[in-house]
Amino acid sequence: MNRRDFLKGTIVVIAGAAVPLSSLEFFDPCEVLAVNPGIHWAFLVDTYKCVGCGFCVKACKLENDVPLEAKVTRTWVERYVYTRDGHQYVDSPDGALQGFPEPRIDMGLGEFKEIEPDNVGKAFFVPKLCNHCDTPPCTQVCPVGATYKNDEGVVLVDRSWCIGCGYCIMACPYGARYFHPVYKVADKCTLCYHRITKGLPPACVEACPFGARKICNIQDSNDPVTRLILSERVGILKEEFGTRPQAFYIGLTAEVR
């Protein structure tokens, strides 16, 4: 960072702090980074902190015009339950739009599995979203150049150019994509691009009461979240696909897929 950039950044912080609506008494990296060219957005999920309330799912849908009743979602929460007698159960009813209001596990086809509280060994929640991979297979396979990774590392879909072939949906190993029920084009998490470029956190990050979801500029080593990623033992999902995900997870186990 040269002097000019530093001054620019400082001015932005001061200017940002002067705005009454977002009167910031602290250093907000997002504000600075909104004008910093060296931006590469990354996401951090702390699975220990997630309690499965599903506020993130609800906030995401309302913020991004994904109909609440549509059975697709840009972000969702999975529940992993390991029983003491050696079974493993996973579910995500409705993507956890309503959280997990019931202790029983949704087995699909209208069936449920009751698990005795004493039998629960290890159990936790894993929020998922688009990993904004550095080598995204979804953008590689788009036949028309309608989905792309922009210079800030966010993978977006051009709604006016997408032909709706579904190849990107097939190519994503994480199931992060779907057809939007209204626009009839491929849709996915944008990291709330309209928010992060204005210095606001993504809707899901804002909605999480427990700080389980965080966003950062991974090129800024002063960003507290970047420091967390650099210092904590973080994992990524499905690294065998060579997609280089930019969503990092604290507290993964081998079974989280």
């Binding site: 036949p143 997408c162 897929r257």
Partner: protein, 431 residues
Amino acid sequence: MIEQLAQQAMAVPGEAWTTKELFVLPNEYIYWSIQIVMYPFMTGLVAGAFVLSSLYHVFGVQRLRDIARFSLVFSFALLPVAMMPLLLHLQQPLRGINVLMTPHFTSAISAFGIVFLTYGSIVASELWFVYRRHFVLTVRELAARKERSGFAGFRLLFFKILTLGAMDISPAALDKDHQACKIMAAIGIPVACFLHGYAGFIFGSVKANALWMTPLMPVIFICSAIVSGIALCILSYVVIQAIRRLRARREMTARPAGAGGAPAVEGLQEATRQEVMLVSNYLLYFMIAAISLEILDLIFRGYTQVKSWDILRQVIMERDFTKIFILQYGIGNLLPFVMMILPGRTVRRTAAASCLVLFGVFMMRWNVVIGGQAFSLSFAGFMDYHLPIIPHNIETFKEGLFGALLVIITPFVLFYFINKIMPAFLKEEAH
């Protein structure tokens, strides 16, 4: 009512025919359904029919003259239909042109527009070389008429355009046509294989899909494409020749004195028999290649047992057992194979076997496309596909039984019209 409409509007594409079992990610549906089954099936037929016609044009297998010309015309009729399932499948069919406008070449699909058009021009020009003489003769015949009706006038204009102004049909010019035809057929074979091989590449290169991802996929697709193309040609050829025989017989009984124009019944039957016998041998060779590759793939997966094998085994050996081992391999491959190698093979039996082969290749496409989506990316859940039969809306029509039937019927309708312009059974000295 309004609520119902609102709910319908909220229905996610794919939701109507997908059921989920155990743990399936919320965004996972069977997004690629019947039309994507039809797509490789139809391109396979195109490629196969073309390869069959090339056997005569390039390799000079003289006995295949009639069926070669028929299959060339037929592959031209099939050509637009290879594109149809894709257009029916697209959520934004009007933007389909984008594939040609901003092709993103790292995508297997992007080549579609270009390869498809190249291939189309090759087939069209080959047809032009074959039928130029017919065009010119038609023009001369129409022009020679003293009085022309409006339709005949239109036909004259149309055929004049078709000749592209090349009216010379001296033996030297026709010989040039013949040479050019041979060259086009030779170029056409690799392009046809590419057209279809890359349909296999579309699936084989999806690394997220454990069932699809194998480098064998394009080769398997090409082999089964040729199998299905030849089978369809045999079947249609036998049926059409039977119809022609019936007509000829009727004409003979109507005018016992002289069956002017209609081919002699006995000669026709014998010619058909010889051609069908020869072609069905090719069918057998390609079938052996296709099945060996498929079995090799399956054995390899079972032997190496990588991470995905657990769920693949459940899909292949348990959930889709009937579809794969009984319908595809049993009824679609083994049975016709036995039918064809048993001694005393007849045309009728070969036609029946071809019918089963077509079914088998269709089931293979089905098991690849639908089977590849029958399990979740989480490897912990399954999805089931329920083909929409009664269409409730445009989506369940397009991606339902009737959409598929539409795709199946179209080539025959097209063939009927193309046959009017370029008669597939022209009785004359041909190249």
